[in-house]
């Protein structure tokens, strides 16, 4: 083990020294930053953001995204819904090769689904999309390892059957893996080999330092121009930008604390890339825990008493947009005619008086709980609520893991949080965040009419019809001010002038298949 460390240390130094000497020959590697080690490097247990940024270049699912965030076919070229709406038939792309050289077939998709569900594998985020499939519960219970509802019709045709309708199934993200890899390399295969179909193959992970990917020559979309990607681990956002300035990084996705520097400093002129983030930010008001929130007038008053424009200018240096509803622009199902919520302190005070709390009299004290990165935002909101509504608000900073658990358990009375879209459709926001039975309904707002609309939408295959249902649901939610949107942040990145082909979508970077680096 000691030897391995020595070898790693010397190996890395030698490699870097060699690279420095070789100079132009290997300059065609994209160097970008990630804020921490990925939580995992295998596609099955995948469950966090940083891992997603890396694995998205190595693995693919049925669909992918284009530069505007729209769905495009990837490993599935087309699909049809079953007549009874309880399933889909997928036609898979031909001529796709895994990094191992094997052909991609329907059997690999079924294998991936089964691996996600088998209990011992600790299937991550992608496993939750498989719940509606016939036989999924049996696999999760451990009674079988075969997923009954998925049938391999032939090498490139796959049939999936559901117990309840799920019209969005085709656009759920997946990472299909090579079914032969475990046999060849054992259960720890992911530490040394790559089992995806994506434009890059996994090469190595130097813990604490970087993750390296190299180009997949036989990629179905055409071999990448660059030789590989190095995700260099830089925990401090500021340091990443400094490294970029010094020429040590080619592409930097800015952490919150570094955004202002990039926007304000002229030297980044022409190098900035921005895209709105497909993330709804909202205010959670849990009426189970704070009496006054039971009254919709109080909730409306809260929504009227902060100034989105001031937040955008002061807190975000202009890198944000006002958000009023619970669907962000750029996500399918967005309602462009959604009415704006003004900043209206007088009306807010009137409402509080009507509700029986004139000037905040009679309001019990309440704590806004959040994590360190959101501290300034909460301090601003708290000061607004105190000044305008007379609400005795205190801000408490807690650590992230416990906070998320508390929110999920419905234990946080008052908070501001966000929710990022896992797939490009508004139903993701509406069903995960505000649907009654959802475990992630952290504000614990519940309305039967709303729930009914959501259930109906889940079964409506026609897009336009479905979007109408989304709008109706959103109106129910916002009509009684179950919550309110605050702002939609902009993602900010910088790239060196000699780098082209980078696409920043509302769902973060696209895989780097089309990137070129000029000399």
């Amino acid at each position: 083990m000691m030897l391995k460390t020595m070898r790693t240390l010397f190996g890395t130094s030698a490699l870097v020294a060699g690279l420095a000497l070789a100079g132009a020959a290997v300059a065609a590697e994209l160097r970008t930053n990630i804020p921490a080690d990925p939580g995992m490097i295998d596609p099955i247990t995948y469950s966090e953001l940083v891992a997603g940024d890396v694995l998205g270049n190595v693995y693919e699912g049925f669909i992918g995204l284009d530069a505007d965030g729209n769905v495009v076919p990837a490993l599935a070229t087309s699909w049809e819904a079953h007549d009874d709406n309880l399933g889909f038939t997928f036609h898979l792309r031909e001529g796709v090769k895994f990094h191992s050289g094997r052909d991609f077939t329907a059997a690999d998709v079924k294998y991936t689904f089964e691996q996600l569900l088998i209990p011992g594998n600790r299937g991550g985020l992608n496993a939750s999309y498989l719940d509606p499939i016939v036989g999924a519960q049996a696999v999760k219970d451990g009674t079988t390892e075969t997923l009954e509802g998925v049938t391999v019709v032939d090498d490139h045709t796959l049939d999936v059957r559901f117990t309840t309708p799920d019209v969005l199934f085709p656009i759920y993200p997946f990472y299909f893996m090579d079914s032969g890899i475990v046999e060849e390399h054992g259960p720890e295969w992911f530490n040394s080999v790559s089992a995806g179909t994506g434009p890059f193959r996994f090469e190595a992970w130097d813990r604490g330092q970087e993750v390296r990917l190299s180009a997949h020559e036989d990629y179905w979309g055409g071999a990448p121009e660059i030789d590989g990607v190095r995700f260099i681990i830089v925990p401090t956002g500021d340091t990443a930008v400094s490294m970029y300035e010094a020429g040590e990084l080619d592409l930097v996705y800015a952490a919150d604390t570094a955004i202002r520097r990039i926007l304000v400093d002229d030297q980044f002129e022409g190098q900035r890339i921005t895209a709105p983030a497909a993330q709804v930010q909202y205010i959670g008001m849990n009426s189970n825990l704070y009496e006054p929130f039971k009254d919709p007038r109080v909730r409306e008053a809260v929504c009227l008493s902060f100034d989105r424009q001031a937040m955008i200018e002061g807190l975000y240096d202009g890198a944000a947009f006002p958000l009023y509803g619970q669907i962000t622009p750029g996500v399918a199902g967005y309602n462009p005619d959604f009415p704006a919520i003004p900043y209206n302190p007088e009306r807010a005070r009137e409402l509080m008086a009507e509700a029986g709390y004139p000037g905040g009299e009679g309001l019990p004290p309440v704590k806004m709980q959040t994590t360190e990165p959101n501290r300034n935002l909460h301090l601003y909101l708290a000061s607004q609520f105190q000044e305008i509504l007379g609400m005795p608000v205190e801000v408490e900073i807690v650590e992230r893991g416990g906070h998320i658990r508390a929110m999920n358990a419905g234990e946080v009375p008052f908070f501001h949080w966000g929710w990022s879209a896992g797939y490009p459709d508004a139903l993701y926001f509406l069903s995960q965040m505000w649907y009654g039975p959802s475990p992630y309904n952290r504000g614990r707002w519940q309305n039967d009419e709303y729930d009914a609309l959501i259930e109906q939408a889940q079964q409506t295959p026609d897009e336009q019809e479905r979007y109408k249902l989304y709008h109706a649901a959103e109106n129910v939610l916002m009509g009684e001010f179950g919550t309110c949107g605050t702002t939609m942040r902009m993602q900010v990145a910088v790239k060196k002038p000699n780098v082209e082909g980078v696409a920043l979508t509302p769902f973060r970077f696209l895989p780097f298949a089309d990137v070129t680096i000029a000399e």
Partner: protein
């Protein structure tokens, strides 16, 4: 001498055991549930939670967990990390194991060398403006917070002047800035101490005798005064080293060095108890070994110490 060394070593093992117990207990009190941190956004899933808890042995009674912990130390794995599910702690920290001690040892060597030199200069030129200037510089050196110093250095030397790389590890240039930041406070401290001891020594009778005998000034300083200055200085090296180890936490974080210090801070925030415990333990062992080495050196130079069993 051997007897003294043996006795101290045995005492150390006792201290290490208590350190193990203390870190284990301490970590039980850290607020924040590591399983929740692991689950993060998926914490709505109680089945997954129960399974993870069992995987990590967190559902067992505390004394059993402690025995597990001892066993893990014995077999060298130090348990499993929470953040990097399923990975033994030793693998997570392997990269940093060599880096941080190397940084610390390099820094202390430089600090002692530079510090003693500066201290001698100040002592010899006592009460001249050179002396005051040096003292002011030294006091400032101990007073500037290292995180501020790092940022300003990076600004001037890396970005404005483009002379040195901003951060990272692997090339010798990347060592320069972190070492400067690490070395400045202990150098200043050692220099001040050297100056104080040197002045004290220079006023002793035997120095006056040596001068009266007509010995050259340089010989007086180097051979006689220095020898007696170094001995008391040695005893403070241990404490200085402790400060240096702590300094690596901040420096590694700012300069993106994949060492134990940065890992420790990250693991505290990520509630990765096993990694935190292991790193604190390793730092303590390393620190106590350095102290032992210092004490042995001191005992070798001053026989009174080993005969009476220890100072104070």
């Amino acid at each position: 001498m051997i007897g003294y060394a043996m006795r101290r070593l045995v005492g150390l093992v006792g201290v290490w055991f208590i350190a193990i117990v203390l870190t284990f207990v301490a970590v039980q009190f850290v607020p924040g549930d590591p399983i929740m941190a692991l689950l993060s956004d998926r914490s709505g899933d109680p089945v997954l939670e129960a399974r993870l808890r069992a995987d990590y042995g967190l559902d067992r009674p505390l004394p059993v967990q402690f025995l597990d912990y001892l066993g893990n130390i014995a077999n060298g794995s130090f348990g499993l990390s929470f953040r990097y599910a399923g990975t033994p702690v030793i693998e997570v920290i392997a990269g940093g194991l060599l880096i941080t001690p190397m940084l610390a040892l390099l820094a202390i060597t430089l600090a002692v060398g530079l510090g003693v030199l500066l201290g001698i200069v100040a002592a010899v030129r006592q009460n001249t403006w050179a002396d005051t200037a040096v003292i002011l510089g030294l006091v400032t050196g101990v007073s500037i917070p290292n995180f501020a110093l790092s940022a300003f250095l990076v600004w001037f030397l890396s970005i404005k002047a483009g002379l040195l790389p901003v951060a990272g590890w692997g090339r010798p240039e990347q060592l320069v800035l972190p070492l400067i930041v690490l070395v400045v406070p202990p150098t200043a401290y050692i220099a001040r101490l050297t100056r104080t001891y040197m002045l004290e020594v220079l006023n002793q009778d035997y120095i006056r005798t040596a001068r009266a005998k007509g010995l050259r000034e340089r010989l007086v300083i180097w051979r006689h005064a220095l020898r007696n200055t170094l001995v008391p200085l040695l005893t403070t090296v241990g404490i200085i080293f402790g400060g240096l180890l702590s300094g690596t936490f901040v420096v590694e974080t700012i300069f993106n060095i994949p060492g134990l210090g940065r890992l420790a801070i990250e693991s505290i925030f990520a509630r990765d108890y096993p990694v935190t415990m292991t790193i604190v333990l390793l730092f303590t062992v390393f620190y106590s070994l350095i102290n032992l080495a210092v004490d042995l050196a001191y005992a070798a130079l001053d026989p009174r110490i080993r005969l009476t069993g220890g100072a104070g």
